[in-house]
């Protein structure tokens, strides 16, 4: 089956030639006397949307130094260093476990392009988007946020949206 070919439609012409010019003038006149959309930024502030991509926050406790975010980052703006420490065995006679400890976790927001791949890819929910956006710096080095600053942003991360209502699983119904 061939898809129906679209016929280029005739340009829409108003009944009166040149009417569009005056419609346009009416629109600009209305806009002239309506309130401007401008927000006076430093004195007035826009409230960002809760899921706005302002800055990336880090939950240090959740991070396992798996390096997935650093490897997936398209412009390599995440710097991670860590080391392993021996954990004492959970039960006497058990095998000693090793745990990764984060030494360094920096995000260079001068390079970051706010794609959010690191947040998506983190398997341990250690990275979050925060809607905060006021962290401009006088020097480019000031945009490199170290671990402490990234975990400070964690306080500004909004609650995740509630789960959507879903129909109950048919499998669960059959169980009893």
């Amino acid at each position: 089956m061939n898809a129906p070919r679209t016929v280029p439609s005739e340009p829409v012409r108003s009944a009166v030639p040149g009417l569009g010019l005056f419609k346009g003038m009416w629109l600009t006149l209305k806009t002239l006397f309506s309130k401007p959309a401008t927000v006076f930024y430093p004195t007035e502030k826009e409230i960002p949307l809760p899921r706005a991509r302002g800055v990336i926050a880090l939950d240090v406790e959740a991070c396992t130094v798996c390096m997935l975010c650093a490897r997936e980052c398209p412009d390599w703006c995440i710097y991670i260093e860590g080391h392993k420490v021996e954990q004492p065995p959970a039960q006497p006679g058990g095998r000693a476990r090793s745990k990764s400890v984060l030494d360094r976790f920096d995000i260079d927001f001068a390079l970051c392009m706010y794609c959010g791949i690191c947040v998506e890819v983190c398997p341990f929910d250690a990275l979050f988007w925060s809607p905060e956006y006021e962290y401009s710096a006088l020097h480019v080095a000031g945009l490199l946020h170290p671990m402490g600053r990234l975990s400070e942003w964690l306080k500004t991360v909004p609650e995740p949206p509630a789960l959507e209502e879903q129909p109950e699983s048919p499998v669960a119904e059959e169980q009893p």
Binding site: L21, G24, M25, L27, T28, T31, L32, F33, P36, T38
Partner: protein, 333 residues
């Protein structure tokens, strides 16, 4: 009074009025365009509404380096902006702010105004040719073709008014519009020429004036998406400012001429022409200037061939018909 003192006084008054008006229109364009696009526009300079913005901007331009490209024809390049401002200022001479407040009430006033106004064409051609830049040259040639094409309907539209008034003097044309056209009881009702059948002439005049001023929708000579800035491409600093001043001053002057010819000039029923005349005329001119600004921020620009066909195929024949009809009616009535 000493003739030289009189000339000096007239010169100062004319220059102050024109330049202040040009500044006001520049500022109005910034503000009106901003609000038409749901923006604020200049806001901080000068404390309130950014009223000093244009003044600050002119001082900024004054500080900029005065560049002359190596390939440019130096003397011509340098003098083009002055010719442009001169062409604009020369027209001011015949604009009557009141029956007595006019630098020179020439018998051939409107003829002189149109002839002196055409000097700015020469300035644009000079700028385009001498810049030594292909964009400037294209812009200059476009401007030349455009200004020649629209000079004709501009003049022909004026002829209708001249026939009706029976004089070329600007004051005479305004005086003719103060004569009562018909009587309501014992009160004579004067009408401006736009209401006395010159509506077609007025529309043609305004369209041609827009083209003469190189304003949207007729700004192909400076079409920034194709020609960088047309004949203004190589200009910086004070010389660019002079072109800008000529453009905005030209808007006021053209609007003033249009209001003298078609809207009754300094005359407004019930207001004393000696005292309120200047304000009435400037008010009418500023209303027309607002309309010009309004067009600019609403409409797109014409294509070069559309522009030429509009002038030669529509405006010139229409203006000729307008003259014929006006002359016939003048003889018959």
């Amino acid at each position: 009074m000493n003739v030289w003192l009189e000339i000096l006084l007239k010169l100062v008054v004319a220059i102050v009025v024109v330049f202040v008006a040009a500044f006001v229109v520049m500022f109005a364009e910034l503000k009106v365009s901003a609000h038409m696009q749901s923006r604020i526009g200049p806001y901080y300079c000068g404390g309130r509404w950014g009223w000093a913005h244009v003044i600050a901007e002119v001082f900024k331009w004054l500080q900029k380096e005065d560049l002359v490209p190596a390939a440019a024809d130096g003397p011509v390049f340098r003098s083009a902006p002055m010719v442009s401002v001169l062409g604009m200022c020369a027209v001011v001479v015949v604009i009557p702010l009141s029956p007595t407040l006019v630098a020179a009430d020439l018998d051939v006033g409107i003829f002189y105004a149109l002839a002196a106004g055409a000097v700015s064409t020469v300035a644009i051609l000079m700028a385009g040719w001498s810049s030594g830049n292909k964009f400037s040259l294209m812009g200059g040639l476009r401007a030349g073709a455009q200004l020649i094409a629209y000079e004709l309907p501009l003049v022909l539209a004026v002829v209708g008014v001249v026939i009706q008034a029976g004089t070329m003097s600007m004051v005479g044309i305004v005086e003719a519009q103060t004569q009562p056209v018909f009587h309501l009881g014992s009160v004579g009702i004067p009408l401006p020429y736009v209401l006395q059948g010159q509506i077609v002439g007025f529309v043609i005049f305004m369209i041609a004036a827009l083209a003469e001023l190189v304003r949207i929708p007729f700004d192909m000579p400076v079409a920034e998406s194709e020609l960088v800035m047309g004949y203004l491409t190589e200009y910086t600093g004070i010389r660019f400012t002079m072109f800008l001043l000529a453009e905005y001053g030209g808007m006021v002057v053209m609007s003033a001429i249009a209001s003298v010819l078609f809207l009754g000039g300094y005359y407004f029923p019930g207001l004393d022409v000696e005292w309120f005349g200047p304000f009435v005329l400037l008010g009418k001119a500023l209303v027309l200037t607002f309309v010009i600004i309004w067009f600019r921020w609403t409409w797109p620009r014409f294509r070069e061939d559309q522009l030429q066909s509009l002038a030669w195929r529509w405006l010139v024949p229409l203006a000729l018909v307008n003259i014929a009809v006006t002359a016939t009616l003048k003889v018959l009535l």
